[in-house]
Symmetry: C2
Subunit: 431 residues, 2 copies
């Protein structure tokens, strides 16, 4: 291995708004997009890939943020970077000038996440393991070294994290085998987009159950009467006791959320996701206290481990999403998973979009094998959409994610897609 | 007036790191920079200017975010935009695709702030008033219309904000006259940068007092023994009872902050600014409770009114900074000022950098004349640096800001500066 001599960024967009796939109360017309980065050592044939997921406009800004990181990566000694997988992450999030643009939130933070994730792709390819297994096979001490404990302020200290990883090291092989034999639970949001008709909703609910999914999620929050009607349809289609979560995508004020959730509660809801602003820890706490025992959750827009810590410490959430492309990559997500384990809160990773299922499965598998040790009352979100554009697409069958054995992080997009959906120059955009 | 037919963005950077001006515990070598935007109607000779302040690397990303807003501005009917100064702000922060990049935080949010601020520059120039006076002269109903009450979740409701503005409408003319006659208190951070020697610190303290400043601020947080020594020097130079604030620029964990502040407290500190992560509302609350009656503050990195609301509502801060370029411009800052008024918390605007003094003075003057009605226990930060690059630089004399009468928001940078400090092509960058 030598120095990093390849770097490329690409603005990839899919015109998904034409079909209203992915429409919710806050995001009526997303064009699922990837601000995509590839870098590595071409002589050693080690190239890593990752992306930031966006929903259209602004994907160019996200690419510009990736480009701002090029000087931190190009020309660097690859072996040195790979020898301490906490180092580049801490260097980038700690860079005093870049830090001003967040700190640790928004466009710059997500770009750092993609660069960190691409380095993990290289690391996994070099080790000839899928990312989840590479992580699961790491020593507890090395896992601890991935975490930036700054601003965790005692909620999770290094010795405690080490204890978690050491405890979980027992039984790793059994859980690996169980993962390969049983898969990992998935749930599907496909039936529940706001843009779908009642008939399509009912049909997709029945199909989800027939396909083996043990849980579905419905988008809510645009119109209360519509939500009540749609939830009734879904409940009838799924039957009593079948877990149905709802997702408001940040649409409500605190009292509005409480009132709305009480209207939905009689139909049985597994959790309420993103009831209000993702930055409003106090708001989530107020809502959760008022609607208990209904479970409140958030996370797909959770900017950092600092917000995660406050949500968990204050009891504002009964479960938590993580997102592979929102925070500073694998490293910060391991911190968040460790925090969730500390507070005994189950994690239901956010996925869908483009590439999010491919990316986040690795974190959930790692959590099961080498951290929480649990997959009960846990599931990865699944949407059957755009997977055909990936070199190593997720395998979801019988309502379960099945672990990949392909080396890497599964985030590489097929070359023809990268060309065809290049924005605005690609052939799919009419150029 | 016709349509907006001019749009230009510029990456302007000053090589301030060479002098260690602006060095603090988190930002050792800033290159003060402006991601600058100008737009307007050239036929009507109405061009607005504003910028996002950054500290160097990443200023190009900020410019890219401004460019992403070009299609929302170019070709728009200017009179229509100016007729409802809440509309463009709400359109941009509410844009479903751009919103994904925050929401309401980081690079995209700050870019929206600059565009909103530049529109205010046009509005003030058209009215032939300085921005502060334009705002102060607005009707209470119109001021209310500027605020986005979303996510304030009852902490401030429209009727309540209206009551504040109506109450403050009484006595506006007297306070305008008082502002012009007495100025507005300033405090200076110039003595307290970490990079300065003890001798320079003592000399600058004495000079600050001789110049009439009633308060100074020292940077702390890198080394406890150094901080104790420097605070002792400053106390001796300033005398008993003279207000000295300290600013840790986010360097501490919660318990570390409490311990450190207790070491500094015997020297008398007016407030402790940014003790930890700006996203850690719970942390600020824990620190404030432990070190009371020492006052805790934050705000220059406060991402939005949602964070401000939680800080104020939970009693996590005894005073608050606002920053002209961190949130979505004048509109969101008026929401934050109204929240501060509601909770009876004084605001000490963050300034310094490049252009921050010029921009934020308008908000403080407005607050005094038409919102809180107070300038006791309030002061605008001041650093005597880079003002010579502005068309309408701040006037700070006798330790006070004196209000400008020049129409606009005072954010226009001189054309030779925009050319010379253009990065990387300008003559000052050796090109």
């Amino acid at each position: 291995m030598g120095t990093i001599n390849v770097w490329e960024t690409t603005d990839i967009r899919f015109p998904t708004s034409l079909e209203l796939d992915g429409s919710d109360a806050m995001n009526p017309d997303p064009d699922y997009s990837a601000a995509y980065v590839s870098f590595g050592d071409s002589q050693a044939d080690l190239i890593g890939h990752a992306s930031v997921f966006t929903i259209g406009r602004g994907n160019d800004v996200q690419v510009a943020a990736l480009e701002a990181l090029r000087p931190y990566v190009m020309g660097r000694d690859l072996e040195e970077l790979l020898s301490d997988m906490g180092a580049l992450y801490k260097e980038l999030t700690g860079d005093s000038q870049l830090r001003w643009l967040g700190p640790e939130k928004g466009v710059m933070h997500m770009a750092i996440g993609a660069v960190v994730n691409a380095l993990w792709d290289i690391k996994a390819k070099q080790a000839e393991k899928p990312l989840w297994e590479l992580l699961a096979d790491m020593d507890p001490e090395d896992l601890c070294g991935l975490i930036d404990f700054r601003y965790l302020s005692g909620a999770l200290i290094p010795s405690e994290a080490l204890d978690f990883f050491r405890f979980a090291a027992q039984g790793k092989q059994e859980r690996k085998a169980a993962l390969r034999a049983e898969g990992y639970p998935a749930y599907t949001t496909s039936p529940g987009w706001l843009g779908y008709s009642d008939e399509k909703l009912a049909r997709l609910c029945r199909e989800a159950i027939a396909e083996g999914f043990g849980r579905i999620k419905l988008k809510v929050g645009a119109n209360k009467a519509d939500d009540v009607r749609r939830l009734r349809i879904a409940r009838e289609a799924c039957g009593e006791g079948f877990p149905i979560a709802v997702d408001a995508n940040q649409r409500w004020e605190i009292t509005e959320a409480i009132d709305w959730i009480r209207k939905l509660e009689p139909f049985g809801i597994d959790w309420v996701e993103e009831p209000t602003s993702p930055d409003d820890v106090a708001g989530h706490k107020a809502i959760a206290s008022a609607v208990a025992p209904v479970r409140v959750s958030t996370g797909e827009h959770m900017a950092s481990r600092v917000i995660a810590r406050q949500l968990l410490e204050s009891g504002a959430v009964s479960l938590l999403q993580i997102d592979s492309a929102r925070v500073a990559g694998v490293n910060e997500n391991i911190a968040i998973l460790a925090l969730a384990a500390k507070f005994g809160i189950p994690v239901f990773p956010h996925a869908g979009g483009v590439g999010l299922c491919e990316a986040v499965q690795h974190l959930a598998f790692f959590d099961f094998v080498a951290l929480s040790g649990l997959k009960e009352d846990r599931a990865i979100e699944y949407v059957d959409h755009l997977h055909e554009h990936y070199v190593d697409p997720v395998r979801v069958e019988q309502g379960r994610y099945w672990p990949t054995d392909t080396p890497g992080n599964s985030q590489e997009i097929l070359a023809p897609t990268r060309e065809g959906f290049l924005f605005p120059g690609g052939s799919e955009w009419g150029s």
